[in-house]
Symmetry: C2
Subunit: 462 residues, 2 copies
């Protein structure tokens, strides 16, 4: 295992030159920000935070986060105005204003992705006004504790998480953030310590680095329903792992188990998804014997952190509709990149016309139920009493094909993501069965997505 980790580290650890290059850019930007504050007469100072500041960035990462800290008594409105003014002066024409919980500026600069984020410089982190106000505290907490040796361990963990597809707290991933990886490493002392511990985790595990909760049950009650809880050392009311989904939690635990059982570089650098040819795709579809429905439409013009939750919500609404109508959805997925795509795989895409329609229990009078259904043109048989004593009619199913349910749901758009619903209202196309091949031929992104879907597999088993 030693050798594997050494090899991995050689590939992911920034070289001296990388570090110097990043330092030069980051220092230059911090200075420009401080200068801008002086020039504009703003009482604020710039601070480099995040992995760039802590030397826990992977060689491929290109993120530099610079926070501009304002005094905490400044009214929020002014913070936003002045913050954007400073950031705008630093970024110049390269800058793009973004809106998360509050506004900030991004820019591409010398090959780096720069975030310029105004925030409050708050002394007690439990009294923050916005999530971004926590970052300087995180910075100080980790900086004070992370030795150069531990930095290497963080890099290994981050690359491991990247390899298994569980790195990133954004809503598209719902995985482990860089800060979470740093805390786990601090807690267990090494990459191997983390892996050993996590291999025995069960859902509901709670880590409390600074012992903020003398009784862990209290923390467990507070963060109930979350597969992993890591109490934020700078704010005991916050779970650093709040973004981690059950799926990514289990993926990480399984990866740790498998890695201990049979370590290998494949966990850190898995093979990419193999692109299927049309012929292969057609063969796999036939072999599965299911019916695939791809709903393709124009992607709402929004950041992935908004698009993905809305796509997932829409996916859930469709799965629920289909399931309620008696269909079996084997799997489903969403994808977005230029176009947006909802994918539903039905085990059974067409049901028999007849379905049983049970009436009230025997203690409830049923004359109205009976006379209503006796008159209905959809009645096929009944009323009769089944073995369990239930009054039953057999009636014609309104929609016997999954496609009909889908089309109806796409017209109604109930419980869909708001912007996704808007995009769908403008138009969509449903490709089903072997017709998805045409779609995959036209769009390489979709081909990659479908290839991954059809050969779905944990990355280290590819």
């Amino acid at each position: 295992m030693e050798k594997i980790l050494e090899k991995v580290l050689r590939r992911v650890k920034p070289k001296k030159l990388d570090r110097e290059r990043l330092k030069k850019v980051a220092d230059g930007l911090v200075k420009r920000a401080d200068d801008a504050c002086s020039e504009l007469g703003v009482e604020a100072r710039a601070m480099l935070v995040g992995s760039a500041a802590r030397r826990t960035w992977l060689r491929d990462e290109r993120d530099i986060d610079i926070f501009i800290l304002f005094p905490e008594n400044l009214p929020r409105e002014e913070l936003e105005r002045k913050g954007l003014e400073v950031a705008g002066k630093v970024a110049g024409r390269r800058g793009r204003e973004q809106f998360a919980e509050h506004p900030y500026v991004t820019m591409k600069f010398k090959g780096f992705d720069i975030d310029l984020v105004p925030c409050y410089d708050i002394s007690d982190p439990s009294k923050i006004q916005s999530a971004v106000d926590r970052s300087p505290h995180h910075q100080r907490y980790v900086e004070a504790r992370l030795t150069p040796e531990l930095t290497d361990e963080v890099l290994l963990l981050k690359q491991f998480l990247t390899g298994i597809g569980a790195y990133g707290a954004e809503l598209q991933v719902q995985g482990f953030s860089g800060y979470l990886a740093e805390l786990l490493t601090l807690n267990y002392g090494s990459f191997r310590g983390v892996v050993g511990a996590a291999s025995t985790w069960e859902p509901g595990v709670v880590l409390d680095l600074r012992g903020k909760y003398p009784d862990l049950e209290e923390a467990r009650a507070l963060f109930t329903g979350q597969p992993l809880t890591v109490i934020d050392p700078v704010d005991p009311n916050r779970n650093v792992a709040a973004a981690v989904s059950m799926q990514n939690f289990a993926t990480f635990v399984r990866a740790c188990q498998s890695f201990l059982n049979n370590p290998g570089e494949r966990f850190f650098f898995p093979k990419p998804v193999k692109l299927l040819t049309s012929r292969q795709m057609s063969w796999v579809l036939k072999q599965r014997g299911t019916t695939l429905f791809c709903i393709v439409f124009d992607r709402p013009d929004l950041v992935p952190d908004i698009t993905y939750p809305q796509l997932r919500k829409t996916e859930r609404a469709l799965v629920t509709k289909l399931t309620r109508a008696g269909f079996w959805v084997l799997r489903s997925d969403v994808w977005s990149n230029g176009k947006a795509l909802l994918l539903l795989e039905l085990s059974i895409a067409e049901l028999p016309r007849v379905r049983a329609h049970p009436g009230p229990p025997v203690t409830v009078k049923a004359e109205d139920f009976i006379s209503k259904h006796l008159r209905s043109k959809h009645k096929l048989a009944g009323p009769f009493i089944d073995e369990a004593g239930r009054l039953t009619f057999e009636v014609e199913r309104e929609h016997a094909r999954g496609r009909e349910i889908l089309e109806k749901a796409l017209e109604e758009r109930t419980a869909f993501g708001k912007h996704v619903a808007k995009s769908l209202a403008k138009g969509y196309k449903i490709y089903d069965g072997q017709r998805v091949l045409a779609l995959a031929r036209r769009n390489k992104g979709i081909r990659r997505f479908l290839s991954g879907y059809l050969t779905r597999c944990l990355p280290w088993h590819r």
Copy 2:
């Protein structure tokens, strides 16, 4: 309602001539039995019991039950030997020995079905040795209480039960016995009284005519799980309604509700099942969109009371097998008359090849599970972690067609009725889909059965 009941009574109540004819035959047989006892030097006496003795027989009924009562200290072996001797002498060459709980003789005589049943003359009915020993006690209990007016009410109730298909305690019917109908009438004072009360019954109702249980909860606990409990007035440990299935219980309650709501002769004399032509049958099958499987084989040479439970048991075994394999059985039924038939109607008769195969929970190591399925030639996708955090493979289903499951189950014959299994071992034929039409064309009994199945409906709604 008065008029309806009068009309019904005119049709079902035996005329004076019917009564005289039956009396003559019954009296003659009782005398012959007593004479036979004397001639053979047997210390026993004959007794007319059942509906013939109580004037509660419907005009169409042709049953005469004569019991031969032996002293209770006679060894069982001797009772059987002497009983058959006496019965044999009465019946002569017409007699046929039967074996229920113990042996008796039946014969056809002057248009009647005669049962000649040896039993013990036991003073305390809670100490009976065999169920037949109770009949003389039932006879005395009912005889002492049933006025001529109440006799008419019993006839109405029996015909009502006949009309709705719930008359008869035999295992093929699992309904209400004649004795049960008499007790219900005694308890509620009239046919209308019974119907009014039963229309509000819920499963678990307990009737205790002689107040043998001061606390009805005790009786309820004793006969738990039975939809209807009527404590036998001559034996508090026995539920007279033990044979009544949940289906027949609910049918009776619904019939009473509907009769009160809209009375009519149709409850007593429903239209017969309409025979479907081949064309109609084909159309109904298409309209339902399901797949029908008829398994036809030689009926085991046994009385219906043994054949039917075995057919039902076999039916349940097949339904369970199919359901476990992922198929939906919409309905099923059995039939027997010369040939025997198992009918299974599948909503979905063919499943996709792929099925999800979940592994152990995340807290259980899964390396063996993973490596086993990775090597399997039936693997289609996986391992992956689903949304709920479950490790999952997608594998090829062993049997994707319902017919394969059926054929396998018919070869294994696990949990089948014993004699049915034997008959099936000798050979069977499966007819599916539209091929059942050929079957219905060849056999009128099967045609009637299938017609009833496909247009299934409570008799009074035909």
